[in-house]
Symmetry: D2
Subunit: 307 residues, 4 copies
């Protein structure tokens, strides 16, 4: 635990030091729109009881991508209940990559957890509503309650993923085939691609992290989701939040976190801080190279690990 | 080799004897329309130089289903050439089931062979034409040249598969994702579902078998496809024609054959006969239980095995 | 957190309530000697700063089995260092079962983590020493420092596993083939079977849990292993300690824990308690049915979850 | 079919032309003793009713390796019967490599076929005899009846494989664990390593091929094994004789064949010839690069294909 009062210096130092690691990573190739990002960008933000500290490119907008899985899971747990959710999705980590389809066929015929793509698509299918718009408003509404501002999506990214998301479409139809997806496949995919396209920046993500660190209470002190749903989601963030790099991240950083292929990482130090990093170059497991190195550095200094 | 002049007695005896094995099989559950078949039906037909011999339900129409993979492969080989075809599909048997997706992810990222669903969908994408209708006319045209009659599809089965073919849709989008499918996914699937819905009976299939036994020459003595394309297709029928039951079938019957989940089997005794069986109850690998037992019996008596 | 001063009542109640769940489990079949256990047994112990609380069959001896993986990993980390260990074993959870060999072939050709059998055997091969006896004394010595009593093994179980441990032998030779095991295969297996056969009871395990909760300091206040090694091992206990049931256990109980197929579970509430349960009937993932139900119950009441 | 009377010219031409393909292959690395072979060697032999024709390095001795699987399977089929053999081993080709262990765990828990290592080891365990020597004499005795000369093994290769055959040892213990191997594991492996070390040259192999082409009758006209056993083995040679390159070989060459990692290939043109090639450089599936190219060339000219 730390007794530092102003984290700005530390955060600046960390950005300085870690930005260079971008060269070890690559921009994702499978979503054309994401290839336009600047791989040199690096930002880190930290929301604490004493306010927001930040350094680097923390006001650069990017799309949530897989980080959105956290919010649709919260909505599904609150609206449909734990039992309904776990009937469609498991709770086990997997040694396979985030978009793998193998285990759907060889194991228990439901996605191993809600943090891999197949599981997140199954969770999306559980979000109630008469239309995609209505369902989406439950997810965007949650984020609006946390951030106290309107939510927008990046239309170009949304359309790009909708058109080229063949692998996710394959996962969705496979799920439909094994009775793992409620409702119309294309509508569920539409919802999934929309949530992936929600725009945020590091400052936003740090606030969201603090909301989770505070067990579901927003900055105004209002409880938005139940502490139990936050606990469940935080647990998944530890065991599966960084795809098949989660085990190593637990060893090296030791906090609930969720990454997205746009280069963002959302981190939570329970009861203490919200964290966010940005850096678009990814390692081969799909996690931000600069983001992970910044979080490792911070965890070494501030002793984040919950273990 | 046999010196029998009239096979009718033998065929009648075989139908009699094998019809009871239907109870060991089941109607397929994944295509709703196919569940309407009568599992007690059994038919066998044999086309020889001396004419057609038949016994049992040989005039009952059924849809080609996977047997159609033989014809789209012939068309693709003739129209696009061996190299183009084998750039998109392998030539190895697989120990996995016909609709498996696992190997697409874990092996060389192209379907192992053109007789599993993924491979057949990839082959369909290679058939040239400005529209689905134009492409389909190449496949139906081939069958019309062999059978000398117009080809029809079962509209109800076609629409049923098109609506509920989630697994095939998953395979097709997965292929698209790994650059294994030319053109528009839904159009390719449309073509695939159409060819699966072509109506034939055992007498037709036996004629088709004879056409293959004669290396691509039809009943009127006209060469329709090249001997080399027939040889390639016959080889695939031996190594992969009965899905992951092909090895056992090679041991027990020993001829090029292709089964479909509607219960038909097309067989070829090179240079000698065309064979066809019908029996809608399937074993767990997707092959007709009665059909296989009839072919085993015939192979024991007439010594079909090419090995 | 709890303000209760005497946990005896709670523990008794929990044993009473959960013992009946034994009927949902089964004794393991693959180690003949373990089939002799009484599936009705149930015990729970809790070591706190105020002393040991216990209920049920807490003085029944059983063999450590997979719980021993915790101790050989501690020894390997302390003696060989983090880098040497992670060169031979990964840090990712797996969706496969504890004795699976598949991922060794299909993934990165090293065991995914040190808590599955393949990984634990690889770790055993890293323990230094001129003979099996010398290597074993490092593991038993660690336990003696924690428990302040001599360590014994169950000779019958040791010999039974040594003779019938074909799957572990397969894993070890596979590792040798992929350069994943140092030294002589049979010697490494001998060490592995010995550590699996170490005898403990629930009271011992609770003390060991407290030692881990105290970051490596034993009951006499002596630091035995480094806090960093304890942190690493605790992290693995969370992500992979309950085999491919670890994710669900994290959701339901939320503490570092390690199970063994003899029916024991070692639990750690960091900074607070050591926990131990015993109940030989296992679920299909290899974890004690009664043990898990007792830990879930305790976590509900005492709010153990670290998430 | 060919009307050529003397094949010597053709064979010389083929060796000349194909020897250069050796550069596309590699010597196997996993059996140290085999790395000593000269990758430039190339030989081809053809046994016909009119006698033996040969070209290149046809008198160079090499070890049978996987080609020996043909003979232990013949012995097991003759001595134990079809049912006993197929209770321990399947008859399906596999898309996996020859030493893969994956399918043992994920599929029906018996080796998919007797031509992959796991299956061949299971078959070895079925060969009767009071000692390894006695069992081995059944295999060597079969070869002596065919070749009419004493059989020897390469002691250095035998000892090298026995010491370093970790992967085969892993397969054998895995089989033992799933009840797929009769008797003592190390004895079965000893028998397997001995049969792999039997010394032959191309001239021998061509004679053996003719024996199979003649349905089990040796050069002196004596029936040595039943025609049915030969048919079964020939079928396996087509569907699985070239490992996971069998499908492509069937397309390109079209005859029963079996390769070994020492660089030999045994081929059979049923009713006509025995064929043998030698060339130690292997493709990545474990088949001789030069051997396959020579057989393709011969099949193009002499139209071998049985399809």
């Amino acid at each position: 635990m730390s007794s530092v009062f102003d984290y700005s210096g530390l955060l600046n130092e960390v950005v300085q030091e870690c930005r260079k690691h971008a060269e070890r990573g690559q921009l994702p190739s499978y979503i054309p729109e994401l290839k336009k990002a600047d791989p040199q960008m690096a930002g880190v933000a930290m929301m604490t009881a004493r306010g927001l500290f930040e350094a680097g490119d923390t006001r650069q907008n990017f799309t949530l991508q897989s980080i959105s899985k956290v919010f649709s899971l919260l909505v599904a747990l609150e609206r449909r209940g734990v039992e309904v959710v776990f009937a469609k999705v498991g709770s086990e980590p997997t040694g396979d990559s985030f978009n793998s389809i193998v285990k759907l066929e060889t194991s228990e015929q439901k996605p191993l957890n809600p943090m891999i793509n197949a599981g997140a698509i199954a969770v999306c299918s559980l979000i109630p509503g008469a239309s995609v718009e209505e369902r989406f408003s439950l997810i965007s509404g949650l984020l609006e309650s946390i951030l106290d501002r309107p939510i927008e999506i990046d239309e170009a990214v949304y359309l790009s993923e909708k058109e080229t998301g063949h692998r996710n479409r394959a996962l969705a139809y496979f799920l439909k085939d094994i009775n793992g997806l409620e409702g119309d496949v294309e509508e569920v995919l539409d919802l999934y691609f929309r949530q992936c396209s929600i725009l945020v920046n590091c400052a936003d993500l740090a606030r969201i992290g603090m909301f989770l660190a505070a067990k579901g209470i927003n900055g105004a002190g209002t409880p938005i989701v139940s502490a139990n749903a936050v606990r469940l989601v935080s647990t998944f963030m530890v065991t599966c939040g960084m795809y098949n790099g989660s085990g190593e991240f637990a060893i090296q950083v030791g906090i609930p976190a969720k990454s997205g292929i746009s280069g963002g990482i959302l981190g939570v130090v329970p009861g203490q801080y919200g964290l966010a990093t940005y850096g678009p170059a990814l390692d081969r497991k799909g996690n931000s190279v600069v983001g992970i190195s910044m979080l490792r550095r911070l965890s070494d200094v501030l002793d984040f690990s919950i273990f």
